[in-house]
């Protein structure tokens, strides 16, 4: 395992703006649990805060005259205008969206909604989403190929899975969240997928 760092540990002797860190008196310190990999600091835990341009998956929690409020696995909510969608969304509907803007109190304005009516929703740690996607989407491609599922990953940690072997897909997502800090993740995931999908078809 890479070296684990804790809140208050020194990360750099100069000011550096890295996720999961803070600066004080010209130095950079860790603010959350993280792993130090060479020069990188990879947080192990953290909350999702909406950022412009990111794709997220949300749940409709409120319906108003002018739009919908979406819960985004974050302390801050998203707002989807009715102008963006011709379909009527029900409370509890799962929708994939893009963040157009974030205002001064960090509330997100959402656009380009894609309702996912058949999807199963899995919640994972938002800081571990990059591991699920993999380099250029490689991890996600492998999972989709083996499970035949359509997987929509929100940057906020909500993962919508529809069709194919949903149980296997859910298991894989949970495995990635649990084991992402242990080296050799890609190999283990591939092995699990080949083993399990082989069981089903063979």
């Amino acid at each position: 395992m890479n070296e684990m760092i804790f809140p208050g540990d020194l990360v750099a002797d100069h000011e550096q703006h890295i996720p999961g860190c803070y600066t004080e008196n010209g130095k950079t310190y860790a603010a959350t649990l993280a792993l130090r990999q060479n020069d990188h600091v990879v947080p192990l835990k953290g909350q999702y805060v909406p950022r412009v341009g990111e794709e997220v998956v949300g749940i409709v929690t409120d319906e108003r005259f002018s739009g919908y409020t979406l819960e985004l696995n974050s302390p801050y909510e998203g707002d989807l205008s009715t102008r963006e969608t011709r379909e009527e969304l029900k409370l509890g509907a799962v929708v994939a969206c893009k963040i157009l803007a974030v205002n001064e109190v960090k509330m997100a304005t959402l656009v380009e909604p894609h309702p996912l009516p058949e999807a199963i929703l899995v919640k994972m740690e938002a800081v571990k989403v990059p591991r699920l996607i993999g380099r250029n989407g490689s991890m996600l491609d492998v999972i989709q190929k083996h499970t035949q599922s359509q997987i929509t990953v929100g940057k906020n940690g909500y993962v919508a899975i529809s069709g194919g072997d949903t149980k296997l897909a859910v298991d894989v997502v949970e495995k990635i969240e649990r084991e992402s800090h242990v080296p050799g993740l890609t190999d283990r995931v591939t092995k699990m997928l080949e083993h399990k999908s082989g069981e089903m078809h063979g």
């Binding site: 395992m1 684990m4 804790f6 809140p7 208050g8 999961g20 803070y22 004080e24 310190y29 603010a31 959350t32 649990l33 947080p43 192990l44 835990k45 953290g46 909350q47 805060v49 302390p75 801050y76 909510e77 109190v105 960090k106 740690e125 800081v127 649990r178 084991e179 800090h181 242990v182 050799g184 283990r188």
Partner: protein, 248 residues
């Protein structure tokens, strides 16, 4: 029953410790509650405290929201079965409201609250078994729970207590030393910067005594911090060991 004369004799405390010994066991476990965002359990001597953290989340009631920072909702309470005698009656009382308030200020100064405006972070500390020094045990456990929840902090607060029995300055007082001793001073420290986030003196101490007490507590805070880090490390190393076991 322990009498005041028995507390400190011939360089030994009534339970056999030297003046600078911490109570044993000092064991912290992180992630004990599945539904909480972060949790920890501490066993410090005969103290047992469970801490759970939720948030940051939307503020209820809404008018309490601060547009500049997150607000902290700390709750310290003793279980009705936690204490001896009348110590630790159930329900919120004057004492638990006061400790909740001072704990709130500790976390406000340790958490990077300005990163989460208009939100609130809940910190619950339930004392299951008490034997003196529960507020410092509770805060020590809660800081592990906060780190486990992924809430950004400047450092992990460490709770310590010291106090005077007769002429001796003792570290980490238990219930008898606390109740029968001359004075005590529970303190919460940020080890990296050496900041003091809480310090409540009960009884009388001279300026020199206070300095001695702080020296003693600062010196031993590192040991408690190491236990906190180990609790967090264990949570991830357990998964690693499991994975390696499967692949072996």
């Amino acid at each position: 029953m322990v009498e005041k004369e028995d507390l400190f004799k011939n360089g030994k405390r009534w339970d056999g410790r030297t003046p600078t010994d911490l109570r044993t066991p000092l064991a912290i476990t992180a992630g004990v509650l599945k539904r909480a965002q972060g949790s920890a359990m501490i066993e410090w001597g005969k103290n047992k405290v469970l801490a759970a953290v939720y948030g940051p989340r939307e503020v209820f009631p809404k008018h309490l929201a601060d547009p500049a920072k997150a607000i902290i909702n700390a709750r310290y309470i003793m279980a009705p079965f936690s204490g001896l005698d009348d110590h630790g009656r159930s329900g919120p009382n004057r004492r638990s409201i006061e400790i909740s308030k001072v704990a709130k200020h500790v976390f406000e100064n340790a958490i990077l609250v300005e990163q989460f405006p208009k939100t609130m972070i809940d910190v619950y500390m339930e004392v299951l078994q008490s034997d003196g020094g529960t507020r410092v045990s509770a805060i020590t456990a809660a800081s592990v729970a906060l780190a486990d929840a992924g809430i950004p902090m400047r450092d992990l607060p460490v709770g310590m207590s010291a106090g005077k029995v007769g002429d001796a300055m003792l570290l980490d007082l238990d219930k008898y030393e606390d109740n029968l001793g001359d004075s005590d001073i529970p303190t919460v420290i940020l080890p990296r910067t050496g900041e003091i986030l809480l310090s409540q003196m009960d009884g009388m101490l001279s300026k020199k005594d206070v300095n001695d007490a702080f020296d003693l507590m600062f010196e031993n805070a590192k040991f408690v911090r190491e236990k906190q880090l180990q609790a967090l490390r264990d949570r991830y190393e357990k998964v690693e060991a499991q994975v390696q076991g499967e692949n072996a």
